[in-house]
């Protein structure tokens, strides 16, 4: 069936997320941006409502409570998890992206643990989120010399007794400093390429594991972006995701763990960008309504009207690409190409809309107390993280060149 209506549950989740974004998140948005941190009272409130507002999902069987999104099944027994997650996420980003990125939860670290961890590992690492207080997971792939080019990572690991010893630097790690654990990608020998990759969960306080500098950024300034240093860092062998045997003879395992994360994270990141841009679009629309369109027909302002109309449909088209990638994931279909398309298209659309919003507000669009200037700064990173627009196009073009023609 071709359909684009949200289910009742999805509508409720959207409504709940929107209320949270509007009444809890938006009011602290400016202050968080200026001070580069989330106010303590807000974090305290999160602790009180723990489980309701988390980032990334803890699987139900390992104590996840979330919003029950993972439990939604259609008539054929298929999950709606990915689609539902997108619906909620867009609303949250509409509130404030940095705050959302700082929500406790496994974050991007969740999928590799879920997809490649052993049952014992899942139990161990996800149980952290059942403990009192606020807890984060993080995802450490990018290095000063390698990001999307996963094959190029240079952080090394070598086996010593019952430990692995890691050496290297990870950079631009979201929630890296506050995380209870970080999924770290390393290599036994760079010359082996993908076959040499190993994925570890490195816990806070592990000897030789430390936080380097916290980055000062153009946008998403209240989100913590950390450099992590691994200096003769001794990680217990039980922390090698999947266990040693899983890497033998399956040369791509480590690489695939990294890639699998992207299949669900790229549409998610894309839809977050759309949430920001929708906020900017709505602000521009309201501004236009109040300042231009009093008692005068729209055709007098055809250019402004067209900018608004174009912006809206670019966001709609981007959202549909995200939904499509998520639908495929829920259906169990391979969606790497579609995930990249969603990310590439939505990021560009979102950037255009945020730019136009500043333009439509004129000088007021530059003012610090107007959120549009913040959204303009926040949105740029969406064309960069989780793979730049260029990297997405590498992924897409490699795949379409292998596709048989439909005609």
């Amino acid at each position: 069936m071709i359909d684009f209506e949200l289910t009742k549950t999805q509508q409720q989740i959207r409504e709940m997320a929107h209320q949270f974004a509007k009444y809890a998140v938006r009011p602290i948005s400016l202050e968080a941006d200026r001070t580069h941190r989330i106010p303590d009272e807000f974090m305290q409130r999160l602790a009180d409502m723990r489980g309701l507002m988390t980032q990334g999902e803890v699987p139900k069987e390992y104590g996840g409570e979330g919003a029950g999104a993972g439990e939604l099944k259609d008539k054929k027994g298929k999950t709606q998890k990915n689609r539902t997650a997108l619906v909620g996420a867009e609303e949250m980003a509409w509130g404030d992206i940095s705050v959302i990125m700082s929500l406790p939860g496994p974050g991007l670290g969740g999928p590799p643990v879920e997809f490649t961890g052993t049952p014992e590992q899942k139990e161990r690492f996800f149980s952290v989120f059942k403990q009192p207080g606020l807890h984060w997971g993080a995802y450490g792939l990018t290095e000063p010399g390698a990001g999307s080019d996963v094959a190029g990572i240079r952080t090394t690991c070598r086996k010593e007794g019952k430990h692995w010893v890691l050496n290297g630097r990870k950079c631009y790690i979201t929630n890296g400093a506050r995380a209870d654990w970080v999924v770290v990608f390393a290599t036994v020998d760079p010359a082996l390429g993908r076959a040499g990759h190993r994925t570890f969960v490195v816990e806070k306080g592990t000897p030789g594991f430390s936080v380097g500098k916290i980055e000062d950024k153009m946008g998403i300034r209240a989100s913590e972006t950390a450099e992590l240093v691994l200096d003769e860092c001794r990680v217990p062998e039980e922390n090698l995701l999947g266990g040693e045997a899983s890497y033998e003879g399956r040369s791509k395992e480590g690489f695939m763990a990294a890639m699998k994360t992207f299949d669900s994270s790229r549409p998610m990141v894309a839809v977050l960008g759309l949430g920001i841009a929708r906020a900017a679009w709505e602000a521009a629309r309201d501004f236009v309504k109040q300042n231009y369109l009093l008692a005068r027909p729209i055709p007098r302002y055809a250019q402004i009207a067209e900018t608004l109309a174009r912006g809206k449909r670019a966001l709609d088209a981007g959202r549909l690409l995200c939904w499509r990638a998520a639908w495929m994931a829920d259906e169990g279909l391979p969606n790497a190409k579609e995930a990249s398309m969603a990310k590439a298209y939505a990021a560009r659309a979102a950037m255009t809309v945020c730019r136009d919003a500043v333009q439509l507000l004129g000088a007021e669009g530059l003012e610090e107390n107007r959120l549009v200037e913040k959204w303009y700064r926040d949105i740029k990173v969406f064309d960069i993280f989780e793979g730049t627009g260029q990297v997405q196009r590498i992924v897409i073009s490699k795949r379409i060149l292998k596709e048989p023609p439909s005609f």
Binding site: M1, R285, K289, E306, A309, D316, A317, L320, W323, R393
Partner: protein, 392 residues
């Protein structure tokens, strides 16, 4: 529930049409373009498959399919050839207009002839657009006045698709301060067919000028739109416009797939040009445009089936714009070969522009969409006859 999955019968329809498009449309499209006509045998074949009337009501002999199913079918037809996709379906446009604007008696009287066994040989037309000289842009220069037990229509309509061969024309005219529509049959002595237009693309589609001189019709020839004429007309435009937008998706897909093939064959500097990033990234952008546009059209079509028009104008405008972009890349990626008629891409770049002028142009749609976003009622006025070139 958010779902992009086709029903079994939609898959079947898609596969059937794809086969027809590959075997009967694409290989002969240049012949028909030159002849500026569709052979009867092809019309008959398509009619027997029920494609042109697929979304007319079942009770009137149509396929009774949803608009989104029609969109799937028309995308595939247009991958075969956009011109044929229009020419094979346009005769039924008048039947759509009568379904949307007429009462039950009028539907029973005029629609079944297009869905019946010899429906393939019949043409209907919608006469809307006028050359914009004199008068006001929000009024038809063509007038109707009540006269005795009927109406008398006077004026000239331009760019009427199938106007030359139509046995039945739905003509829009100004009735006092109201817009109105009437059914005029071919044998009416007040209906005169003018010259056939030469067009930029879609050469296979016949479009002519029609004039009405003291054209007298009965009172039962007026299509009243169930008392809400403007709203009913907006729904009609949304349906026809989305089918046309689906053709743009098909056209864009044809251009993309042709370029995808060609650039993997064509070598330069020692490798297939598709492996240079400038080309590869362009192909990726084309693919994204095609897919995103298809979902926009589908979403709007599903909504229109439910009676909601709010995303229709955006989707149509998006399709026109995206298809042009993809068709242009299609020519560009073939380089010099793209400009030569030995290859189909130059045709698609002409056709996409012509398709974009079937139904209200993007600029008018965009204003309508923006108006809705700013709180103005949707479909509160008809598009100006001046900016309404073709109608299918």
């Amino acid at each position: 529930m958010i779902s992009f999955g086709l029903e079994e019968e939609q898959e079947l329809a898609r596969d059937t049409v794809r086969k027809l498009a590959a075997e009967a449309l694409r290989p002969r499209m240049r012949d028909y373009e030159k002849a500026r006509a569709v052979p009867d045998a092809l019309r008959q074949q398509v009619h027997e498959l029920g494609l042109g009337t697929i979304d007319l009501p079942e009770a009137l002999g149509g396929g009774g399919a949803s608009l989104v199913t029609a969109a799937i079918v028309h995308e595939e037809l247009a991958v075969g050839d956009p011109g044929l996709a229009v020419a094979l379906a346009s005769p039924a446009a008048a039947a759509h207009a009568i379904c949307a604007l007429g009462d039950e008696a009028q539907r029973q009287r005029w629609v079944p002839r297009f869905t019946g066994a010899d429906g393939w040989a019949r043409r209907g037309a919608i006469a809307y657009a006028e050359r914009g000289s004199g008068g006001a842009p929000d009024r038809f220069a063509t007038t109707a006045r009540a006269d005795g037990d009927g109406f008398v229509i006077d004026g000239t309509k331009a760019w009427v698709v199938d106007g030359g061969a139509a046995e039945l024309v739905v003509v829009f005219a100004q009735l006092g301060d109201e817009p109105a529509a009437f059914v005029v049959e071919r044998e009416n002595p007040g209906l005169k067919v003018g010259a056939r237009h030469q067009t930029l693309g879609l050469d296979v589609v016949e479009a002519s000028e029609l004039s009405f001189e003291g054209c007298r019709v009965g009172v039962d020839a007026r299509l009243a739109g169930g008392g809400e004429f403007v709203a009913a007309t907006a729904r009609l435009f949304a349906r026809l416009g989305l089918v046309n937008a689906a053709r743009q998706v098909g056209l864009a897909r044809a251009a993309y797939e042709f370029a995808l093939d060609y650039t993997q064959e064509r070598k330069a500097f020692g490798k297939a040009v598709a492996h240079f990033q400038a080309i590869a990234f362009t192909l990726a952008d084309m693919h994204m445009d095609v897919e995103a546009t298809r979902w926009m059209v589908w979403r709007a079509a599903v909504e229109v089936d439910r009676g909601e028009l709010h995303d229709a104008w955006s989707a149509i405008a998006h399709a026109h714009e995206a298809a042009w972009r993809v068709a242009d890349h299609g020519v560009q990626l073939l380089g010099g070969a793209g400009f030569i008629r030995d290859y189909p891409v130059e045709k698609w770049l002409r056709d996409t522009k012509a398709l974009a002028l079937h139904g209200p142009p993007s600029e008018a749609l965009e204003l309508e969409a923006a108006g809705a976003m700013l709180g103005h009622p949707v479909g509160s006025a008809l598009p100006s006859p001046w900016v309404q070139p073709f109608f299918t």
